[in-house]
């Protein structure tokens, strides 16, 4: 009877302890990556290769999504702004929403599901097929050779992808607002120019995406490295990467926004 009553608390306790353990584990993993990053810098072609897989191959989804998000912003923004007779401010609205929030957050979410999951699956399968063990036995540290280049590739790609997302969004807003609806193109750009601050809006947005890139890639490589080396284990790890990344991006966004703006 008592056991049944206490079971939920025991489960809660177990869950908390497990979460803290994993948090400690991932922190030590980050430390290990940083300690083993020298090779990523001296053999930069390893990082470039991963930038190709994580960043360049994500371009399509980032560019197309950015364009559509901008077009939706243009439509929604126009219908709201026109009620207050300030449709001219559309350019500022689109640019500020994208630069401050939507660009970094949505690009990071897309990056997590496109490239983060791929990294987890790849590293997990390398573990399952003993490739990481083989590397270790050949006296090559897999953290230096496999994990660190992917981590830095993610950190470097994310701000660029977010910036591209923003550019495409602003063009999408221009297309809907100016070309389809017929607002004045000059005021679209001049309102944007007058209201967007380089430091507050653009740089802060980039800093956000730098954090998101580090968080998503760290989670992705960690989950891959920590995966149970079976088919089911790798699939569970891939799912965890996407879910954890999404939650961490949104939580981190709140914290960073509170500090920045």
């Amino acid at each position: 009877m008592l056991d049944a009553l206490l079971a939920p608390f025991a489960r809660l306790g177990h869950w908390v302890i497990e979460a803290v353990r994993r948090l400690g584990f991932i922190s030590r993993f980050l430390f290990a990556i940083l300690m083993n990053s020298a090779q990523s810098l001296t053999r930069f072609h390893l990082v470039i290769r991963e930038i190709y897989f994580a960043g360049v191959l994500s371009l399509i989804i980032i560019v197309v999504s950015g364009l559509f998000v901008g077009m939706v912003l243009g439509l929604q923004g126009y219908t709201t702004l026109v009620r207050f007779g300030s449709a001219d401010a559309l350019g500022a609205l689109v640019a500020l929403s994208l630069l401050r929030e939507l660009g970094p957050v949505l690009a990071a979410l897309l990056f997590a599901s496109r490239s983060g999951s791929a990294m987890t699956a790849e590293i997990g399968l390398m573990k399952a097929t003993e490739q990481l063990d083989a590397m270790n036995v050949m006296a090559v540290n897999p953290i230096a050779r496999v994990v660190a280049p992917r981590f830095w590739a993610g950190v470097l790609s994310m701000p660029v992808l977010a910036a591209l997302f923003n550019v495409m969004g602003i063009l999408g807003g221009y297309y809907v607002g100016v070309i389809l609806i017929g607002l004045d193109g000059g005021s679209y750009w001049s309102q944007m120019q007058a209201n967007v601050d380089l430091h507050v809006d653009v740089v802060n947005g980039m800093i956000k995406s730098l954090f998101f890139g580090a968080a998503v890639t760290l989670i992705a490589v960690f989950e891959g490295f920590d995966a149970t080396p079976t088919a089911a284990g790798v699939s569970a790890a891939t799912t965890r990467t996407v879910v954890t990344s999404a939650l961490v991006i949104l939580a981190l966004d709140f914290v960073l926004t509170a500090f920045m703006f």
Partner: protein, 260 residues
């Protein structure tokens, strides 16, 4: 030397010696802890008790740097090859050379082609591992393992899952490499017939302990019922096929009381 994964004891009080330049097989059934022995020798896991000495140096006390130094003089062939699937055959074999030696590209190329020729697969260098058959992949993995001319070669089940011809080719290669390079070789296997033909000495492991040893001729003539069962592949003998369950089958099926 003893070793346990958590509470589960895998190896208990094992003591074996592998002389320099010899080809030694460690045989035993699946799950007898043979592969763990290789992981102990390569320093991937450390024993709870006892010591592992390779070339006069204690593996169990090595720092990470020393371990990597130790492994640089060692090659290991994994059960399924463990080729890097994102690299071509050439890059796979070149991997240890590029990681550990700063050589000009032309010299790396020559070395790789020589290693590929040694395993009889020159001409496959541009293929990807997914295009190779199991036997070819195993031979490429062997070429990669010997890329840096190791003093100690570890083979983890080199014969598993191969057709008779590839199997013969691998066995021949292992023997040839051992003789030609003067490498000390440790082979973990349960392929008795094939191994007895090529090795110098055999250790039998069962239930985590060493139960028999000898040269191939001694093993073939062995009076030990366990060794005879293993060598002849009989289903019944000192080793039982069934896992020692704590309940009876009829009890598990819910028939226990009716019959009792």
């Amino acid at each position: 030397m003893s070793f346990a994964y958590g509470e589960r004891t895998i190896l208990e009080r094992i003591n074996l010696k592998i002389p320099r330049g010899r080809l030694v097989a460690i045989m035993g059934g699946s799950g007898s802890g043979k592969t763990t022995l290789l992981r102990l020798i390569s320093g991937q896991v450390a024993p709870q008790q006892g010591e592992i000495i390779v070339d006069g140096r204690h593996v169990e006390h090595m720092s990470e740097r020393e371990l990597f130094e130790h492994r640089r003089r060692m090659g290991m062939l994994f059960q399924f090859g463990a080729l890097f699937t994102d690299l071509s055959v050439f890059d796979n074999v070149a991997f240890p050379i590029r990681e550990h030696a700063r050589l000009p590209d032309a010299m790396v190329r020559d070395l790789v082609l020589m290693k590929l020729a040694a395993v009889g697969l020159r001409g496959t260098q541009d293929m990807m591992p997914s295009e190779l058959s199991g036997g070819m992949a195993r031979r490429i993995a062997l070429a990669r393992a010997i890329a840096l001319d190791p003093q100690l070669m570890l083979y983890d089940e080199p014969f598993t899952g191969l057709d008779p011809i590839s199997l013969g080719a691998i066995a021949h290669l292992i023997k040839k490499l051992n003789d030609a390079l003067g490498t000390t070789s440790v082979m973990v296997t349960h392929d008795v017939e094939r191994s007895l033909n090529i090795v110098d000495y055999v250790y039998f492991v069962a239930g985590g302990t060493l139960i028999a040893e000898g040269t191939p001729d001694e093993v073939r003539a062995s009076a030990s019922p366990w060794v005879r069962q293993f060598v002849r592949g009989e289903a019944d003998g000192p080793v039982h096929l069934a896992y020692p369950a704590t309940t009876t089958l009829s009890a598990d099926l819910g028939l226990g009381d009716a019959h009792a």
